[in-house]
Symmetry: C2
Subunit: 340 residues, 2 copies
Amino acid sequence: MEPNRRQFAALVLGSAASVSLVSASNAQSDSLPSWSDGPAKQAILKFVQATTDSASPDFVPPADRVATFDQDGTLWVEQPIYTQLVFAFSRVPQVVKERPELANEPAFKAILSRDHAAIASLSLEELLSVVGATLTGMDVETYRDEVAAWIRDARDPRWKRPFTELVYQPQIELLKYLRSAGYKTYIVTGGGQDFVRAYAEPVYGIPVEQVVGTMFDLGFRPGPDGKPVLVREAKLLLNDDEAGKPEGIHLVIGRRPHLAFGNSAGDREMLEYTKAGAGARLAMIVLHDDGAREYAYGPAQGLPDSKIGTFPQALYDQAMKDGWIVVSMKNDWRRIFAFE
Amino acid sequence: MEPNRRQFAALVLGSAASVSLVSASNAQSDSLPSWSDGPAKQAILKFVQATTDSASPDFVPPADRVATFDQDGTLWVEQPIYTQLVFAFSRVPQVVKERPELANEPAFKAILSRDHAAIASLSLEELLSVVGATLTGMDVETYRDEVAAWIRDARDPRWKRPFTELVYQPQIELLKYLRSAGYKTYIVTGGGQDFVRAYAEPVYGIPVEQVVGTMFDLGFRPGPDGKPVLVREAKLLLNDDEAGKPEGIHLVIGRRPHLAFGNSAGDREMLEYTKAGAGARLAMIVLHDDGAREYAYGPAQGLPDSKIGTFPQALYDQAMKDGWIVVSMKNDWRRIFAFE
């Protein structure tokens, strides 16, 4: 049915039409049991129906069904600090043993002395310098094995669970639902591409070639056994954040997403790029407004400010103006974690 | 059958076992009718069987079945000059109109005056400066449309046919055969990623997300209608040649290929990287030794030297030493072009 005819039918039929729309949604909603029956869930169901029904004017051919998801704060918990930084911190003692001169740098000093106040006051640049020193220098296969081993054993201090259990159940359902509708699901993260690749398949069902992330330059050199390996250099190739997100999407995917999901200022350009495409495009953004079940931060909508995952009021206003769907963790997600 | 038992059976059964192996190959060989029944074709058939038979010790799970192909000189003709350069040259008059100061640079002067001797003596760096000036500055979608329109109408001077008909029929068959065996086929080209993406799907059956190529930095800016676009900057991000090939493979695919196919010194690192992996790995390299049906150049094996697609004798010796399969166009390919 054309949009005009659908509106006309809704006008004429009134509540009867609404009831039938709701029923149709309920029939599909089994795929998204952790989503409340609110406007966010409705927007997802409508979007998927419009883009996969071959009779719809917004039909999208399967090859173009691309959905991109930020990771930190969108698919899993990013507070009190990014999981990748916890991993980097865990490597600091070993790295300082090899390079003692680092012990005098403020970031390393704070981490070595477990000075929480000093760690909290580090700038993002200082934190990234720790990443550069601790997560480079080894070959990509060794690195992935080390990440996989660490993430299997490490525990989040609040929930005392592996970080990979701190993924949002509604998003796991959404990823599966999109894939069942022929969408290819991608992660597009400001985190390291190879860090996320180490666990993306078992945790999210997303294979390594569908992980776009921050990339370091790679050296091609003989490994210990003389066979060539790719070594992670301490030189940034692509910072997959802000304008780097649409750039990374183009380089790795080569198609403009039809659905993009983020949660912070770093996702703005990805959402803008997505919405600027022709046809049906859905931009969604998580608002962390549930301090009881997860964390509450913004500072949009009067929430406390945060250095990690900042969601400014201007971004909220842009979402309202441009038709992005703001997803309230408090209201739109019935359940946040699978272990609840 | 385990390798030891297979060897034992071959020893005991002698020629009878050989005959049965040949019959098995012949049964499959319908997929590769343009390949002569020589060692190259046998190597392909054996490799595919060994990596796709779940009882084989060299079995490769479907997700890891990655095959990478260089383009210029491996999938289509690269002489007398790369097709992308023909495209760049075609844009020179327009670009010089907009930036008259370029008319005095040797490369632009040679192209504008159609001075074939001067063009032939340009260095690769000078040629790349023409690419930088002519193939950047526009948004990625406009660029792809322009490439697609040009390549539809342009003709190769020798065969008077579209460049997209100058693809090697044996390779088209091989790409299809590999895909039918569960391999994901990728192009890994020193050419521009978006240039090749403009025609890779209809010509090779390879979708845009499976094209790895030389990448330029992208700017995220408002387009003419105010909506954001990705603009090709004149700044190289990744030169997808030599060591850049394994790097590009890791960034876009994240898996080490099990089969790689090249034809020149620029493919050496990709082939080394492929062969250095565990299990069955097949490295193949085309030798252009058929001056009658295509072009003859090396300078390996006494063939004439060439600035485009150089295949030095040292690379040939490395292929022999490391078990890469050298594919002779003259002997291994029954037919080169579909239009023959």
